[in-house]
Amino acid sequence: MTTVVPVDLAEVSAVPVRLGAKPSAVGAHSAVPTGISTRGPELLPLEAGEQYRFGFSMNACIGCHSCEVACAEQNGLPAGTTWRRVGEIEGGAYPETKRFHLSMSCNHCLEPACLEGCPTNAYEKLANGVVAHHAEDCIGCQYCTWNCPYSVPAFQPDRRIVTKCDLCQPRLAEGLAPACVSACPTHAITIERVDVAAWRADHAEADAPHLPSADITISTTRIELPADVPLETFSASDWNLRPEHPHWPLVWLTLVSQFAVGVSATVDGSGQRIMAAALAMAAMAGALLHLGRPAVAWKAFRNLRRSWLSREVALLSLYGGLAAAAVPLDALRWPAAAAGCAGIYASARLYIVPGRPSWNSPLTVVRFGATAVALGPIVTGHRSIAAAGTAIALIATALNWARLMRTPQQPWWGAVRLELRWFTTATSVRFALGVAGIVTLLAGAPLALSLVLVACCELIGRWLFYVAVVPLNMPGAFWRGAAGTHR
């Protein structure tokens, strides 16, 4: 028997904030944040040069996670998709221990890296500052998930696209605060207006311990830090250093396209030209499997102006076409090789992003180029070139470790730890195969043997490239990344 109780919905404030006049500030920072208060943004419309943003008081947050649940309910998100997350940082000695919580979702940056890199221009910086993501334009390439230094955009498997916080754009349009703001029992999360030019000049308040520098994308989230944050802190998720997804279609794309370009650049005879063309086509076809929505892959050309991913797709497609044309027309072999080299360069450049420190180096260009030099010339019979390419690939990997070990933050040294400790066997086998490949090449052993050795070396190396990377991220809770939990 269902009892229906008439609740006068007109009386139900969607922004119930009457739990005492609790400001977001509790401790030393007592300034009441400007911006949308209880009544909704229509009462505080943006003035010229302003945008909306989140404010967060680390003093007021009690770590209850209500914001995360409210967000999931507001947006009907499936389990595992979290647009807002609460992390924990800890420091100090008992009993002066301090543990603070940091609740964050999208920071609606002034220079959103997700938007810059998106090959389909699926992102848009709206007039009110919201970094909006248009699902219909998303092909599920997930490049934004690498670009964002806060690991905000995330692939949502049931939709096969990336999704993220839009500051509750539908609620904003009705003059209501975002669901997380409305749900927070202690008013730790607020929505505010910010003067864009002033914030661009000084955004120090967007920084917090264990958060990537706000300089990267000019995060707009204003974070009120307690006065007593210990000098040394750690993030509760630090322990959970674990490999990333291998992206097998991308292992295939980069490895095979580089192999093809190596053949094209040293090609001799129509058989090898056919091989190069076939490899190039196969590489591109395999890459489609990476996309959540291969049916709309064509949209990837849309952002040639800014996105290295668009350029990679364009240049490798051009290369594939020229390599195919070069089969009957030998004169096109050099234009094909040139397009292929440009394609490899674009490929490598798209990995050079601050959000993935272990990739964020010119060494990535060297490593990708070295793969082409190591593999292609074996097929075309240039033993010493191939040996040199293999050696460069190994040396560049080692140089990258040396570079990463110099930075005492987990996204840097953690990548090396993953490669050397988590994947000790794979890394050892890779180097052994590479050395064996060099020896067989220089010793005049059958080329087929060398090709198998070097190809396996590079296959393992490329797989390690994708799995042994630690993204920049916001600090996590203890269970982040553990089985069954969100990122």
């Binding site: 006068d8 919905l9 309910e73 939709r159 269970w479 553990a482």
Partner: protein, 729 residues
């Protein structure tokens, strides 16, 4: 078939971005919200998890609870909810609901199941007497059901041994209040947190366990907040002063505070002498205490102890609130009486912002305390009070000798009697002792040795797996009635959707059993719905400390909850009575509060070389009790998927343990293997902490089945364990 394949191919190729599943609808007063949460109508109720008692609106579409929101007009939470509340609609339609009665594992009709229960218990009673069958209930039912169950068990079935899982959480507060003030009943209210100058949270981690109380401790007019806890909890992080008391050191701390207050003149003993009982015994006892001794026992410095005492002494209004850190002790009752003593001596009883206040555990633990028939008879009537017995017998129209002469066995004593073979039949209602009872091995042995185990619950649990008869019950969101929260506020809970399958409300099950037992006509004449029980309970509670006689369901709606005592009459505000003992007259025969002197006892299962660490157990914000519900809600499970052990960096370093490592934990009673270590300085060196919610990695395989001799509440908070690195990866 073809269409399905075509659709799958289209999905894989990604023609579709899934947008049609993620649209928004705009509802008046609510704003745009995911269309998956579109609501046809709202049903006003009260949250079914903890005792804070937040008002909650359940959104219903097509007989499914699809959304919730905090009730903006409810005085407790004013529209806000914690993560469990915000996802509470998912609990109703979660997997694992019991849909059909079973008898010996086979599906059965209700008729057969009820027959098996009644015939089985009757047979045991015939052969072994009424002492051979016992009932364990809960704090999760509505008050109307508790009242019904109490009459059924005590008068109808004539059983001697009936208790609830409230003994696992609130019994010490009950016993402490009865000793100090004559009857149970928290004297204060939530508004006191905002009105106090100083709030002391004593073993109360509200940020995790009662989240909607935390906002009352923040803000511009916040009180000076003192937390007393061996752990630096989330709540301690909010405090102005955290007292890292040694486990079981709080009695020393309280004695020390009393010494300072009296020595430094904050308490004028001569002035107070006429208004209290037991003063001289207390003073004599305190003569054996010095600040130094107290500080040493509490594990803090004398300066820290004096600072706490002076803060309390100088406060115009001080609220002393506590919960499981105090109750879960072999000295829980005594600690409560000592807290009450401190409150009485400092004048912090019955005034705004000033009271000794126990924060309850379960959503309706208070309901069973008031209307149940366990620790006392309904209406806080003591079994040995002749006047109360006569009054109750007259109200019910029965002979006085039909009322039990005494309370019967408490929860742990029921389990012990099962172990010793005295109790052979047990009816467990809405509780999961396999996970929640200390020393799991003994408990499991007990349940497996029963001739007849009947378990009535909404979900499959580790306890229903052991049952001979399982009775599927409706749960929160499917039942009507009232809950009483920690501040004595009676709020409505409502059925928003019908129960699934053949599940029935506990009320209906009780009446069906009464019918078959042959006592329905006598005890429940004309009863068909919970309101019938409520109306009788109003009459039975009239004039008692927990007086409901002026409370009607309509008044509850109008006021957003009514605090008892609420006799009829214009002089009582519509919201009832905010505070007890405002005239300083308590419910003892003398009318004066009783002061108590307490001496601390050492920890029984104290750390020693082979078990060198002290285990403390507790909760986390994402889960409720044994995760019967929250473990089935994906977002909460994702936030907190498994148990862990918190260990101090020094101990971790000695044991070569890092955060995230698997460790094994052993006590003399049992072991928990492969539990994640969380290395953190929120626990003291030498102490570890494990949350108790999980069946897997169950903390209660380790805990000691030692009980408060007065309240019979378990000592969950201190036992000795050994931690080692797990072998293998």
């Amino acid at each position: 078939m073809m269409a399905g394949r075509l659709q799958r191919a289209k999905d894989v190729l990604g023609f579709d971005d899934g947008a049609e599943r993620y649209t928004y609808v705009t509802e008046p007063g609510r704003g745009p919200v995911s269309a998956s949460r579109a609501v046809d109508h709202w049903v006003a109720s009260t949250c079914g998890y903890c005792s804070v008692g937040c008002g909650i609106l359940i959104g219903v579409t097509d007989d499914r609870a699809v959304a919730v929101q905090g009730d903006p007009n409810h005085p407790v939470n004013l529209g806000r909810l914690c993560p469990k509340g915000l996802s509470e609609h998912h609990s109703i339609h979660a997997d694992g609901r019991l849909l059909q009665p079973t008898v010996h594992g086979e599906p059965a009709t209700w008729d057969r199941a009820i027959g098996t229960v009644v015939d089985g218990f009757r047979d045991l009673i015939d052969r072994y007497g009424p002492e051979s069958v016992a009932v364990l209930s809960t704090g999760q039912l509505v008050t109307e059901e508790f009242y019904t169950l109490g009459k059924l068990v005590r008068l109808g079935m004539g059983l001697h041994h009936y208790d609830g899982n409230t003994t696992l959480c609130m019994a010490s507060a009950v016993a402490g209040y009865k000793r100090s003030f004559g009857t149970d009943g928290p004297p204060g209210c939530y508004d006191d947190f905002g009105l106090a100058d100083v709030v002391v949270l004593w073993g109360a981690n509200v940020a995790d366990n009662h989240p909607l109380l935390a906002p009352r401790l923040l803000g511009p007019n916040r009180p000076y907040l003192i937390t007393v806890d061996p752990r630096v909890t989330k709540t301690a992080m909010l405090a102005d002063l955290h007292v890292p008391v040694r486990p079981r050191g709080d009695i020393a701390l309280l004695n020390g505070i009393l010494v300072v207050l009296i020595e430094e003149g904050f308490v004028d003993v001569d002035e107070i002498r006429e208004t209290v009982d037991g003063l001289d015994d207390l003073l004599e006892h305190l003569a054996g205490w010095t600040v130094e001794r107290a500080a040493e026992g509490a594990g803090i410095t004398t300066g820290e102890l004096q600072a706490v005492a002076r803060r309390i002494g100088a406060a115009e209004r001080c609220t002393l609130a506590w919960t499981m850190g105090v109750n879960h002790s072999v000295q829980g009752t005594e600690t409560v009486t000592l807290l009450n003593t401190l409150a009485v001596l400092t004048g912090n009883v019955g005034r705004e912002g000033a009271s000794p206040f126990s924060i309850t555990g379960q959503c309706n633990a208070m309901g069973t305390r008031e209307a149940g028939f366990t620790a006392s008879m309904p209406g806080y009537r003591n079994y040995d009070d002749p006047a109360a017995r006569a009054e109750l017998a007259a109200l019910w129209g029965i002979a006085e000798d039909r009322l039990p002469a005494e309370r019967g066995r408490a929860y742990p004593d029921i389990i012990n009697a099962v172990v010793s073979g005295k109790i052979k039949g047990l009816w467990i209602i809405a509780t999961n002792p396999v996970v929640s009872y200390p020393n799991r091995e003994t408990l499991e042995f007990a349940l497996k040795s029963l001739d007849l185990l009947v378990v009535q619950d909404g979900f499959q649990t580790p306890t229903t797996e052991l049952a001979h008869v399982v009775l599927p019950a409706a749960i929160w969101g499917e039942k009507d009635g009232t809950f009483t929260n920690s501040e004595r506020r009676v709020s409505r809970v409502r059925a928003a959707v019908p129960p699934p399958g053949e599940a029935r409300s506990d009320f209906d099950i009780f009446l069906a059993i009464a019918q078959r037992w042959g006592c329905r006509d006598e005890l429940f004449d004309g009863w068909h719905r919970p309101l019938d029980a409520f109306e009788e309970w109003r009459r039975v509670s009239a004039g008692r400390p927990c007086d409901y006689s002026g409370i009607t369901w309509d008044r509850i709606d109008a006021a957003g909850g009514v605090q008892w005592p609420c006799p009829p009459g214009e002089h009582v505000p519509i919201g009832g009575t905010a505070r007890l003992y405002t005239d300083m007259r308590v419910n003892r025969p003398s009318g004066k509060p009783m002061l108590f002197a307490v001496e601390p006892k050492p920890i029984r299962d104290a750390p020693r070389p082979d078990y060198p660490l002290l285990l403390n157990t507790g909760r986390t914000v994402e889960h409720w009790h044994t995760r019967t519900k929250t473990g089935r809600i994906a977002i909460l499970e994702g936030l907190s998927p498994e148990a862990w052990i918190e260990i101090h960096p020094d101990d971790a370093s000695d044991l070569r343990i890092r955060s995230g490592d698997w460790v094994d934990v052993a006590s003399t009673r049992g072991r928990v293997d492969r539990i994640r270590a969380r290395v953190t300085a929120t626990v003291r060196a030498g102490e570890v902490f494990v949350p108790f919610h999980w069946d897997d990695r169950c903390a209660n395989r380790l805990t000691d089945d030692e009980f408060d001799p007065i309240s019979r509440e378990p000592n969950y908070k201190q036992c000795a364990v050994r931690v080692t690195r797990s072998t293998g990866r």
